[in-house]
Every structure is written in C-alpha cells, then in structure tokens.
C-alpha cells in the first residue's frame, strides 16, 4: 500500500512541496500496526458515539468531531517519546485518546459530568491531562500555537530531551500569532513540531479561498523552518514524517512544520449543515482515502486474520460503550464546584494576606 502518491492538487505558483510517503523501510512491526489500527478505530467509534449523544441532547455546546483525520494524530503519537508534550485547538477528542487519556473521562467531560477530565467545567473544547502531557484543548483559533512554543521553551530551558507537538488547522494558519510563534521558535531553536492539519476547510471556507500563496508547509519558509506536505490519510506516511520531524527537533535544530493533507467527514461542528461541499466529495474521500480502511487492508496483507480484526473491533466497541455509560451515569458536578479552581490556594503562609 506504500506511497499511494499524493494527489496532484497544487495551489498557487511554484513547485509542489515534497510529499513524504511511507517507504518499505519504515514499516513498523505488525503488532505496532495493530495497536495503531486499534487506536484509530477507537477515535472513529468514540466520535461516532459522541455525535449520537449530541443528537440526543446529552452533549451541549460546540462539538467538533475528528472523524476522517485519525491517521494524523495516531501517526504522530506513534513516533513520539515519553515526556513529549501535545497541545491542540478544539477538535481535540482524538488527540486526547491518542495521548492515552481515558475514554471514560473524555466522554464524561463531553456530557458535562463530575467524572470528566475537567470535572465538567471545560467541555469538548477545553480538556487537559497533565499526567498524559496533554495541554489542551484550546478554544481560540491559533492561541494554542504560542502556548506550544512555550512548552517547547520549557523543554529546552530544563534541558529535557522532549518536543512539543503543536497542532493547528488550515484555518489557524492565517492568525497572526502563528507567525509570531514561528519566528520565536526559529529564533531560539525551540523543539516544536507544528502539525498543520489541513482538512481543506476552515469552518465553511475552502482553504484555497482563505490562504494565499502555495502550500501551507511553506508557511515557515521566511523563518527558515523546514516544512513538508504529508498524506495525512496514510498513517504510515504520517509516522515516517513525524519521526523525521521529531528527530530534527530533538537534535536541537529548531522547529519543523508538517502539513497533513487530511479531510474531515463531518461538519465543522455538530451544527454545521456543510452546504459548502458536495456529498460526492465527501463520499469520494471516504471510499478512496479512508485512513482506517487503508490500515485495515495493510493488516490483512500482513496476515492479520479477520478473527483478530473482529476481536479488536469488539474491544473498541466495548470501550466506547463503557465510556458512554460512565458519561451518562457520572453525576453532574456538585454546585459547590461553581466556585472552585478559580485561583490556586497559597501554600506559603508568608504570601497569605491576614485581614
């Protein structure tokens, strides 16, 4: 299934950026592939369930599903090392599951319950896990990018051998603070991989209607940041590119940009009728480029039998079912929670004002 070459899509003048494909040499052991398949499937099934719960009124507010983009975060995580940090925007459920956060806690946050990662106070867009090095979950387009650079700054300051993987979308790349971040990251050689998840639409606006110039991978060119365009529907291509980018950062060479050519099957959020694209366009991506179908085919080629695949499907389904039950039965936060977590208490008595 290697190098199903990147589509010929080319925007603007200039050479098409180099596309990384998965080469034979990059092939991970079969059991690693199985794990990746399982992780991607968990995101898919989790998000489908979240969509259902939203339709039932059990999830409120904004809810941005990651369906179609699973290969991006799983490919990146498969290349990451313990201690690497992750930050993203609000289409974040997949990233949290990929970081190893518990599906129960993520789903319970979606339903606004005490058992959620933010104890029901953050919701879909604002979830965090210090334990799993997941730093959000940020609701303002582009605001997570300088924060990611700050996490990279702290890695370097503390001489940690780690990288911050900072995700942003094709909409965010037009925010000014993204370029402020690129500049500082390059200026100070900070270990950060900027992963641009180009799913073709910033809400309802096609990327070609919003972004001037050529590939988004080239957006760091002025700062000397290397960038690559990657088939983001192919988890092995993502993994190969991620390994290269992370090694570049870990070796002290400063930031790296990966533009993941991906696609979201669902609307921008649950309330998006998606009138800006055709059903045929979505179906074509699903049928020809689906990241989970691709890795399932690969596993079959590697002689993983149907029974094993079925077993995985069942396990994933059970995880999602359990998470759903937890999210439905976990109580709402106690009313006293309204006034907690606004400020951290002072532990040093010298700092405490005595009234």
């Amino acid at each position: 299934m290697t190098a199903k070459a990147e589509t010929k899509r080319k925007r603007g003048p200039g050479r098409p950026p180099k596309t990384v494909g998965s080469g034979v040499n990059d092939m991970p052991p079969t059991e690693d592939l199985v794990a990746m398949y399982k992780d991607m499937l968990l995101i898919r099934r989790f998000e489908e369930k979240a969509g259902q719960l939203y339709g039932m009124g059990q999830i409120g507010g904004f809810c941005h599903l990651y369906i179609g983009q699973e290969a991006v975060v799983i490919g990146l995580q498969s290349a990451s090392k313990p201690g690497d940090t992750v930050v993203t925007s609000y289409r974040d459920h997949g990233h949290m599951l990929a970081c190893g956060m518990d599906a129960d806690g993520v789903m319970a946050e979606l339903t606004g319950r005490e058992g959620g990662y933010s104890r029901g106070k953050g919701g879909s867009m604002h979830m965090f896990s210090r334990e799993k090095n997941f730093f959000g979950g940020h609701g303002i387009v582009g605001a997570q990018v300088p924060i990611g650079v700050g996490l990279a700054f702290s890695h370097k300051y503390k001489n940690e051998p780690n990288v911050c993987v900072t995700y942003l979308g094709d909409g965010a790349v037009n925010q000014g603070q993204v370029y402020e971040s690129f500049n500082m990251a390059a200026l100070w050689s900070l270990p950060v991989v900027f992963v641009i998840e180009n799913n073709q639409y910033g809400m309802g606006t096609k990327v070609t209607r919003a972004a001037a110039g050529r590939a988004l991978a080239d957006r760091g060119m002025a700062y000397g940041i290397p960038g690559k365009q990657v088939d983001g529907m192919d988890v092995l291509a993502v993994r190969t590119a991620a390994l290269e980018a992370l090694a570049h950062c870990r070796d002290g060479n400063g930031p790296y940009i990966l533009e993941m050519k991906t696609y979201r099957y669902r609307g921008h959020s649950m309330s998006d009728p998606a009138k800006y694209r055709t059903r045929e366009e979505v179906d074509a991506m699903r049928k020809q480029h689906d990241p989970i179908d691709q890795i399932r085919d690969l596993l079959k080629n590697q002689h993983v039998d149907d029974a094993r695949l079925k077993e995985i499907d069942s396990a994933v389904k059970a995880t999602v079912t359990k998470a759903t039950e937890f999210a439905q039965t976990s109580p709402e936060p106690d009313p006293s929670e309204l006034f907690t977590d606004i400020l951290l208490p002072l532990t040093d008595n010298k700092l405490v004002a005595k009234v």
Binding site: T85, V87, G116, Y117, S118, R119, G120, K121, G122, H126, M127, F128, S129, R130, F135, G136, G137, H138, G139, I140, A143, V145, P146, I147, G148, V149, G150, L151, A152, F153, S154, H155, Y157, K158, C164, G176, Q177, E180, S181, N183, M184, L187, T340, D341, I342, L343, L344, L346, T347, D348, K350, L351, V352, A353, K354, V355
Partner: protein, 464 residues
C-alpha cells in the same frame, strides 16, 4: 548675547539626569550638531548636541554631577565676537522658566529646577510596611522592582524574565538593569516585538512549570496580548478542573505617562480586575512594589502587576530584607483620619496624601488607604474605615465608566450602606481619550485639587 545651554529632557517623564561627561571644554569652538556632552537619564545614556554654532564660554555643571534638573543651565555658549565677559550667568535664585513644557505629569507639580529638591523626594512620603522594624534603605521604585526580580531569580532557577528590551538594552525603563549580567541570556530574554506571541509563550512555559515574568513595555501594548492573558492564563485552571495552574507575572508600566497621548496613556486596572482567575496589583511605594512583586512571582496564579512610569524614579524606604514580602490582597492605611476615607492606588496614592494634607489645613481629617491590590480587593479595610468616617472618595487614573471606583462604591453600599452619611464620590480620569496638548492633558488627569474638592463635597454638602 551668550546662549544658555540647558539640561535637556530626553524622555517624556525625565525630570533630572546625570551629566556623565563633557566632550568639550571651555573655549572650544562647536558647530550646531556637534556632540558636546553625554547625559544619563533614568533610561539610557544620551548624547547632547550643540544647537548653535559658537564657542563654549563656561561649563557650569561639571561632569559627574547627578540629579541635574531638566532645564538647568549647564553651560554658556558664546556667539561670534563675544567674550567671556559678555556672559550673564544665571543666578541661583531665579528658577528657569522652561521654554517648553517639560516632563510635568501632573499640573500641581512645580517645574523642576536645579535649586529645588528632586520632586521624587518632595512627593514621596517615605514609609515602610508597618510591621517592619529593621533597617531600611532609600530606593527608587525602579530599583526595588529590579531587586525583587533579582532576589527571586536567585531563589528559584525556574524564574525568568522576557520582554522587549529587557536584556541588552537593560530595560526600556531600566527596570531590568543589570539582570542580564547576573543571570545571562537564558533567563533574561529579549523578545521580538510580538506581544501576543511572547505572552502566549509565557503561558505555555508556565504550564510547563516554569515561572515566567513577562514584561510589557507598557500595558497599552498588552492589549495585543489580552486574549492570551484572559483566555489562556486566567481561565485555564478552571477549564481544566484545577489541573493547569499558570504561575506567571505580567508586569509593566500602566496608566498615564506624560504627553504621549491616547494610545500610550491608559489605566487598565479595571480591565484585568474584571476577570476571575487573575490577581491584579498596583503598588505606590517602593517597599510595596518590591514586596508585592516578590509575592507575585511566588504566587501559583497569574498576576497582573501594574507599575507606573512616573513613580519609577521616586524614592522610598525599603526594608533591608531579601525575603520582604507584601501579601497580595491587603490594603494599607497610610494616614489615619476621622472625617472622610480616601481610597487610591498607584500614583493616585501620592496625590491622595497631598490632598489629605490640604484637607487637614481646612479642618477635615482624611483617612488615606492605599489599596495596593485591586483584586483580591481588601474591601474589609475599606468598609472598616467607612464605618469610622462615614464618607468615601475613590481615586483612580482610569476612566470612570465601570471603573475601580464604581466597584468599590458598590461593595461599600452592599456592606456598609447604613454607615454612609453622604454619597460616595469618584475622582477619575476624564471620560475622554488622553489628549496630547499639555493643558488638555492636565485637565484629563485627576489632580490633587479634584480630590480635595471631592472630599469637601462629601463633607460639606452632607452633614450627617
């Protein structure tokens, strides 16, 4: 006739400087544009150029002289054909009338001259935290802020400072002077001009368990970064169910500078105080500036630290203690009184104290409270005072609408309505963008007379 060469004002708030070096001597010919001297201001070393052709008749202020007031005559320049006998040296008793308005941030300040004591000492009332009984040293607010940062950086290697011109330039207002030398470029970091970017980077670093001090050259520029301050720094602890503490200090000068007009003169206290998740402090004295900044750096929460450019050069007694902490959230009663309570913060404290002096001359005993912290607000101290005086005047440089005074008035009404004998009065900046013209600027800023008038209104008009 010989021309007077005067000590130039080289920054909007400069009142005096050090005449570091003469590059000419008596009798030297100079041409317009020649560099004749070097002057150290509170911010930088600047060159002084001759503004006319001529011969240096006499240098009146020798190199190395400190505290030379702006507009003091520093040398005489002879024009063609003149000799030394043509010079009419300025008499010490005649203060120079400035040719143009110099740094006089408040209209009630007399124009500085070489003969009067530095304004800093005349306005500032030396004071220290009441509990302090040890020795103390007179320091400027600028020096005390620098000392606070240096001490905390020595104490905790995760403390670092970043901002525009904080390192090699030694601080746009010289607040970070010497820090680069001591702590190196890893911990004292010059940023590009990129407020939103470095504010966000600071937040990320704080999430990464460092303790950033982010300096804004002024808080006017922090508006570029206010999304990161509010949405990222202030709210994330709550949105994460208590996981994501953000120990960060955003500091810099706030409020009106002098003659820099609307985009560079604004008090943002009520903007930041409005939002839960932030602490907001605005010290007046050097002792409080030091103790509060140290408390802010050690605080596990984001702290907005509002300084004032006009106060940077003012001197106060500061306790000799590397562990001098002023807890955030505690106001200080600077002057006890029985007829009216005047609440102020930052530069308005000095004006409130002066107003209290004048009121005393008029038979009104005013109690002056320095809030020091805007949020948490020490409403208990205010309420206790109001229960004693039954009258309240609030002072701030900011706009009146939804300002700090409005909040204090509401809290006092909620907590001490029955003790009030007169409506609460606000003294604020006028509800206009800051004008440039000197006369209009003076009108826009709250003055000592405004405080006196407000206090008199509450006392005279409403005899309990």
């Amino acid at each position: 006739m010989a021309i007077e060469i005067k000590m130039p004002a080289l920054s909007p708030t400069m009142e005096e400087g050090t005449l570091a070096k003469w590059l000419v001597a008596d009798g030297d010919d100079v041409r317009s544009g020649d560099v004749i001297a070097e002057i150290e201001t509170d911010k930088a070393t600047m060159e002084v150029e001759a503004i006319e052709d001529g011969k240096i008749g006499q240098i009146l202020v020798p190199a190395g002289t400190q505290h030379v007031k702006v507009n003091a005559v520093i040398a005489m320049l002879l024009e063609d054909g003149e000799s030394a006998s043509d010079m009419k040296l300025p008499t010490p008793d005649a203060p120079d009338a400035p040719a143009e308005p110099v740094a006089a941030p408040v209209a009630d300040d007399t124009n500085p001259s070489a003969e009067t004591a530095p304004m800093a000492e005349t306005v500032a009332t030396p004071m220290a935290e009441t509990e302090w009984s040890g020795s103390s040293t007179s320091l400027t607010v600028r020096e005390s802020l620098r000392d606070a940062m240096a001490e905390e950086m020595r104490r905790d290697e995760n403390v670092f400072i970043m901002g525009e011109e904080v390192a090699e330039y030694q601080g746009a207002y010289k607040v970070t002077q010497g820090l680069l030398d001591e702590f190196g470029s890893k911990r004292v970091i010059d940023t590009p001009i990129t407020e939103q970017g470095f504010a966000g980077l600071g937040v990320g670093a704080a999430f990464g368990e460092l303790r950033p001090i982010v300096e804004f050259m002024t808080f006017n520029f922090a508006m570029q970064a206010i999304d990161q301050i509010i949405n990222s720094a202030a709210k994330t602890l709550y949105m994460s169910g208590g996981q994501m503490g953000c120990p960060i200090v955003f500091r810099g000068p706030n409020g009106a500078a002098s003659r820099v007009a609307a985009q560079h003169s604004q008090c943002f206290a009520s903007w930041y105080a409005h939002c839960p998740g932030l602490k907001v402090v605005a010290p007046y004295s050097a002792a409080d500036a030091k103790g509060l900044l140290k408390a802010a750096i050690r605080d596990p929460n984001p702290v907005i630290f509002l300084e004032h450019e006009v106060l940077y050069g003012q001197s106060f007694d500061v306790p000799d203690d590397d562990d001098w902490i002023v807890p955030i959230g505690k106001a200080n009663i600077l002057r006890s009184g029985s007829d009216v309570t005047i609440v102020a913060f930052s530069i308005m404290v000095g004006r409130a104290l002066e107003a209290a002096d004048r009121l005393a001359e008029q038979g009104i005993s005013a109690e002056v409270i320095d809030l020091r912290s805007i949020r948490p607000l020490d409403s208990a101290t205010i309420v206790e005072s109001v229960k004693k005086t039954s009258r309240l005047v609030t002072c701030e440089e900011g706009f009146p609408f939804a300002g700090i005074g409005a909040e204090i008035a509401m809290q006092v009404m909620e907590q001490a309505f029955d003790w009030l004998d007169a409506p609460i009065t606000r003294v604020t900046g006028k509800d206009v963008p800051m004008p440039y013209a000197a006369n209009l600027e003076a009108l826009a800023l709250p003055q000592i007379d405004d405080i006196v008038a407000a206090a008199r209104t509450t006392c005279d008009g409403f005899k309990g």
